[in-house]
Amino acid sequence: MNLIDWVILVARVALPAMILPAIVIPLVWYERRVAAFIQDRPGPNRVGPFGLLQSPADILKLFMKEEVIPSQSDRFLFYLAPGLAVFSALATFAVIPYGGTLTIAGKDVPLLGADISIGVLYVFAMTSLSVYALVLAGWSSNNKFSLMGGIRSSAQLISYELAMTTAAGGVILSAGSFKLADIIAAQQGTWLGFIPRWNVFPQILGFLIFFIATFAETNRLPFDLPEAEAELVAGYHTEYSAMHFGSFFLAEYVNVIVSSALTATLYLGGWSLPGFHPHGVLGVLLSLLVFAAKTGFLVSVFVWVRWTLPRFRYDQLMALGWKVFLPLALVNLFWAAALEMWKAAR
């Protein structure tokens, strides 16, 4: 390993970790503007052009606000929770390929954090760890609303992770690999010359289940029960203020981006397009754009859904997860397996 390798390694790992939180800033603005549009009101439009500087101003405010810590709280865990939230959100992104292969100084550098053999499993492992942030926040606050939020999130995340993992099983089956790069490679080309070989087409059921389950995993509406403001004040982060609250806020939006990116990778072909073979720097930049476009589309769906659908009731949420999504995910798995057998037989 010479210097260049080290630089490349650091860059591969660190750049996404730097850029992702940075993207959150315009994303918050974007969401508020879309929300305002849906609700037929102007939205933030005072700070900066089109209100673009509203988000940086809010962040500044969060940094400067006074931190209030409940006296009976578990101090260590109280501090640990938001950090864990951000960590698990960012760590998930480490295995998602966000562009084609760049050639720097005669070395092929695939644009992703780490190309490990169990990429998809790693993603699930990280998302399953993210539950601890919420649970710990809820418990350590020593507040009944927070605790309720924590309890809800633990049950909710476990339930939906099951459906999500099973749905993703279909994708893994069709790619024959846990590697995300392999999954993208398996989605190259077209059917009949014009339909991209994306998993979304044969496995539309799995796509829907997976994508809806990510809503639950990121605690977004209509599944934001851990922080349901109408019932639990603010749920697990009721007692948080200042930048620790900001961390949860940041983690949520990072999670939205990562979930969209993951969905795009698993079901929409990732950074690839049919007939598109990125060469050189320009090609790689183009592949980055493709990836950003797909992810951005799914993020927009997140925003759209948030301001369209009402919140589920808790029992409805669990019933949906266990009685509808899990069986349907199994159906999807069998369907994917049947497709693979059909392909193998042909």
Partner: protein, 168 residues
């Protein structure tokens, strides 16, 4: 490098396992165990079992221990009663037995645990995740199916145990 990672992970896993036992607070016990399990998963990666490592994190850390946490919070158990243990003999005999057990176990394993003449294992020769899958679906198919029945039974059993209606 591997050696260092192993030593570090093993140390952390052991320390947090001990914290789990020593902590007066069940929630902290669970969290300590999460950390311990996470670093055990690291060790598993070093033992050429990345799949098991991922399963370890997803199932153990991500599901089973969350379930523990869920129950702890549901029952709102904070601290173990600080009163004196009403069974001191149990404590003394148990401690002694554990000590003997540990000494014997460590002695046995370090002395006779390693089969002699074993060639050094390398990652290249180690079974891959595909090998595991094939074994599960061929040689171990029957236990695997039995396992699925077991899980279903556990699901139903847990539901029956905690459901408030239809109590006989």
């Amino acid at each position: 490098m591997e050696r260092i990672v192993f030593d570090a992970a093993a140390t952390i896993a052991l320390v947090f396992a001990a914290l789990m036992v020593l902590s007066r607070n069940p929630v902290k016990s669970v969290l300590a165990l999460v950390v311990s399990f996470f670093f055990l998963a690291v060790i598993y990666v070093l033992l050429f079992a990345p799949f098991i490592a991922a399963i370890q994190v997803i199932v153990y850390a991500g599901a089973i221990l969350v379930l523990f946490l869920f129950v702890l919070m549901l029952l709102n158990i904070r601290h173990e009663g600080s009163g004196k243990d009403p069974r001191p003999i149990q404590r003394i005999v148990g401690g002694g037995a554990i000590l003997v057990f540990t000494i014997v176990l460590v002695a046995l394993l370090s002395k006779h645990g390693t089969p002699p003449g074993l060639p050094p294992a390398s990652e290249a020769a180690a079974p891959h995740i595909g090998d595991v899958a094939r074994a599960v679906y061929s040689d171990f198919l029957l236990p695997f199916e039995a396992l699925s029945v077991l899980l279903l039974a556990a699901l139903v059993g847990a539901f029956v145990l905690v459901s408030k209606e239809h109590r006989p």
